[in-house]
Every structure is written in C-alpha cells, then in structure tokens.
Symmetry: C2
Subunit: 321 residues, 2 copies
C-alpha cells in the first residue's frame, strides 16, 4: 500500500513526458503548456488509489489516470476561455498566451488525447471504463453550464447549488476512484460505495472552499479572502444566508450584491456571522464528510487498505488554511 | 446493395431523434439545434457504404455513423466560433444564437456524445474502431490549426496546402469509409485501399470546390462566386498562380491581395486565366480522382458492389455547378 504522496511520485514519474506530437507545434505546444503548469494531480492519483484499495496497480490504471488528467486539463483550458480568466495557478492561461481560437482547439486536442490513452486499455477493461468516463465528461459539461446559468439567475436554491457543484467537481473525483476500482477488480457494490465516498468528499471539499474564501486565514489561504463576495458569487454561504437571514438582513445582502462599497467584504461577513452561516457551513461540511466516511467503511476490504483514503480525506477536508 | 440516396434515407430514419438529455436545456438544446440544420450527411452515409461494400449493414455501423455525424457537428460548432462565422447553411451559427461560452460547451458535449455512441459498439469492434476515430479527430484538429496558421503566413507552398486540406477534410471522409469497412469485416488491405479512395476523392472534391468558387456558374453554385478571392484565401488556384505566374503577373497578384479594388475578382480571374490556372486545376482534380478510382478498383470484391461508391464519386466530383 502506498500513501497519496508515494502514488503522486509514481504518477508524476509516468506522466512527466510530452503527451502530444511535436508538429504542428502551434496546436500541441499550448496543450503541453498547461500540463506543465502542474497542479496537485489529485484526480489521477485517486485513480491509482481506487485500484490499490483492491489490488496491485495495473498498467491499465496508469493509462486511465493519464486520460483523467488530460480530461481535467481540457476542462481547465475551456473553462478559462468561458470565464475569461487571465491566470491559472499564477501563470498565464492558455487563451491569454496563445489566443482564444488556438486555446479552444488545443483543448479539443487534449480531450482527444485522453481518449487515445483510453483506447490503449485491454478491450474488456475499455468496455467497462469508457461508459463511466463518457457519463462523467457529460456531467462535468452540465455542471459548468449550470454554473454559467446561475450567474444570470436572481435566486439559486440550495438544492440547485448542490446539484451544480456535484456535477461540476464531485463526480469527477468520484469517477476517478471508481475507474481505479474497476481496474482493480472491485465488485459493483464496492465500486458504488467508493463512488459515493468520492462524491460526498467532493461536496464537503467545496463547502470548505467556500468557507475558507470567506472566513479563511489570509496568510494560509492561497487565494484572496473575500474573492467570492467581491464577485457576487452564489456560494453555499451566500445561498444559505439569503435563505435564512431575517428579512432586514436579507434586504441588506441583496443591496450589497448590487453595489460595491469599500467595506463590502466586511459588511457581508457581518451578515453571514449574524445569521450563523459560518457554524452552519462547518456543520454541513461535516455531514458530507461523515457520509463519505460511512461509504468508505462499507467497502468490503481489510480496514488497513483504507488507510491512504482516510488520510486523503483528512488532508482534503481538515486542512487548516 | 443500396444507392447513396437509399442509405441516406435509412440513416436519416435512424438519426432523426433527439441525441441529448432534455436537461439542462441551456446546454443540450444548442447541440440539438445544429443537428437540425441538416447538411448532406455524406460522412455517416459513407460509413454505411464502407460496411455494405463488404457485407450487410450491421447495427454497430449505425452507431459508428451516428458518432461520426456528431463529431462532424462538434467541429462545425467550434470552427464557427474560431472563424467568427455568423451563418451556417443559411441559419444562425450556434454561437450567434446562444453565445460563445455556451456554444463552446455544447460543442464539447456533442463530442462526448459521439464517444457515448461508440461505447455501445461490441467490445471487439470498439477496440478496432476507437483508435482510428481518435487518430482522425486529432488530424482534423491539426488541419484546422494549419488553416488558421496559413491565414497569418505570407507564403504557403502547394505541398503545405495539400497537407492541410488532407487533414482538415479528406481524412474524415476516408476514415468514415474505413470505419464502415472494418465493421463490415474487410481485410486490412481492402480497408487501406478504401481509405486511400476516400482521401484522394476528398482532395479532388476540395480542388473542385476551389475551382467553382472562382470559375463556377453563379446560377448553379450555392455560394457567392469569387468569395475566396475577396477574402484573400489561399486556395489551390491562388497558390498555383503565385508559384507559376510570370514575375509581373505575380506582382500584380500580390498587390491585389493587399487591396480591394471594385473589380478585384475580375482582375484576379484574368491573371488566373492568363496563367492557365483553370485548366491546371481541372487536370489536378482529375489526377486525384483517378488515384481514388484506382484504389477502388484494387479492392477485392465483386465489381458490382462498387457501383454505389462509383456513383458517389461521380456525384461529388463531376457535378456541373
């Protein structure tokens, strides 16, 4: 059994090569560029972990992990175009560096390359893996579309927000673990528990991300604290505050959503605190975390094999920053 | 054996359903919209023809044909974004109707849906079909990138242009025929001859398209005659003229490429005619057509099974308008 960090090293070792033809460089260099920006490689390592929960890691699993990482980077390239984002992990986004048309096309090529890796799986593995990969890819598109739709909607219910977050981020984490478990020979029941573990963990992670954006320690949190508030983002916190704050506070919040006073972040945080949004968010996060852990416990393998996944969950969720 | 038109009816019958989930409509309606604009469905019918050249049409072949048509429409959505095209087949393009971000994402979803259909193939068929599908998808991306690169390049050689056209349009036609032949149980040798038939036919078709844009009968040609000249497009004709016209004519041509006199089309056509570009183009088209027919003849099946493909080639190439 390997820890997350050990598996990360193994994956990096496998993944740190050029994944595209040399020519035309105008198409493939932008695709290779975003892979070089790095990132935490959480998703491909989850594929390896899903496999190793049940059996030794197979060669096919590295192929599937690579496909997943390429897919993830394809979504980053296209999301950045849609969001008009200038930076990603402190570096120029692909469309800023190479232009929108090329970024769009390089994203497409990155997506195809994901399927190139999948096509190298053994036929019986491919048959099991491809439908889940496709289903997840469609769901991620749906999540991104809902996210864009919500920007234009006046009110978003908590149920709608959870669905969007689930599609946009959680199902990919869940699918990575399940893909690995399929390749590791898990039973369908165990696959499904692992999927639910990943899905709930993903939602808990997003709640924490929303929480830290508002209440995190600026010296530890990687991004600007209050960024979601400044961009009027509908987050777990904002939606809950709008749903539960007293009428007068709710009115104030709605006014703040349509204006930009200098102390906007402070004012919104005060309303959040008065409505008890901070404690509520931590409790909700914990509920999803507990649900995730429940599904992990239900998986019928020796307890000690689950240790790396428990550590991953704690690392993702209980981080202090 | 069925003619192209008979197979077209069969395919339309199979294809004219909704190919996407109902919700979120904001994502899937734009994807369904472009399928409804129609088009000639040449590519999916070629998949059916490739199969029927060797054997009765299998259910898997309809799935592969659907995947190819979805892939083609995905490229149309994204190409129209890149080219900032307002219209396609006389209708609003997806990005004009629904916005660029949604068009980009709907294109992605359409592409995933192509793989959803492929994933339903029998495992042994999938294993043979997927690598060719992926390879072709990457080549089409390469062709589109080269096309965009050429717009910024001062000179493009004939060799470079043929490569771009081959990647951007011919390999998909070739791959469609080959996909069908794989599913129809063709030998590798026969598959390869059919691929070369499609590839050379595709190039011949493009030469004709370039020719008609300059010398076509305006009453029969669907598009504005001289459109390529007005947009300074590097076509077979323009590249050949720049490569072979006498120095003085070449200089005139270069000046015309940087200006827009009222009689620009007429002036360029005169240079083309003086340099014999029109006769040259017809001859080049014929050379590729003959190459295509040679590969068709080499395929080891009864002569009469090839009749529909011969008719298709004549329809595509020898049209008068």
């Amino acid at each position: 059994m390997n820890s997350f960090n050990q598996l990360l090293l193994k994956f990096e070792d496998y993944f740190n090569v050029r994944h595209f033809p040399i020519s035309p460089a105008t198409l493939y260099d932008p695709a290779q560029y975003i892979l070089g920006i790095g990132g935490k490689r959480v998703r491909p390592v989850c594929v390896l972990m899903g496999n190793e929960l049940f059996d030794e890691i197979k060669q096919d699993t590295y192929l599937a992990a690579t496909a997943v990482e390429l897919f993830h980077n394809f979504t980053l390239i296209h999301d950045d175009i849609m969001d008009k984002a200038p930076l990603r992990r402190g570096m120029e986004t692909v469309h800023m560096k190479y232009g929108e048309a090329t970024a769009l096309l390089s994203g497409d090529a990155t997506f195809v390359q994901a399927y190139v890796y999948l096509s190298k799986l053994h036929p019986d593995a491919l048959q099991k893996v491809l439908p889940l990969f496709n289903k997840t890819a469609l769901e991620v598109c749906e999540g991104q579309q809902l996210d864009m739709d919500f920007e234009k909607k006046e009110t978003v219910s908590m149920e709608e927000y959870v669905e969007m977050i689930t599609l946009k981020t959680s199902v990919l984490l869940a699918a990575c673990l399940k893909l690995g478990s399929i390749l590791g020979g898990a039973s369908v029941g165990n696959q499904d528990h692992l999927y639910e573990f990943g899905k709930n963990l993903g939602i808990a992670f997003q709640i924490q991300d929303d929480y830290l954006d508002a209440f995190g320690d600026p010296s530890k949190f990687g991004k600007q604290v209050g960024g979601d508030i400044l961009s009027n983002k509908k987050t777990f916190l904002m939606i809950h505050a709008l749903e539960t704050a007293p009428a007068s506070e709710k009115e104030k919040l709605n006014q703040l959503l349509q204006s930009s006073p200098a102390d906007k972040v402070e004012q919104v945080l005060n309303i959040f605190r008065n409505a008890g949004v901070d404690a509520w968010a931590l409790q909700l996060k914990n509920e999803y975390y507990e649900k995730a852990m429940h599904h992990l416990e239900e998986i019928a393998v020796m307890n000690k094999r689950k240790e790396p996944l428990r550590q991953l969950a704690q690392f993702l969720i209980q981080r202090e920053y």
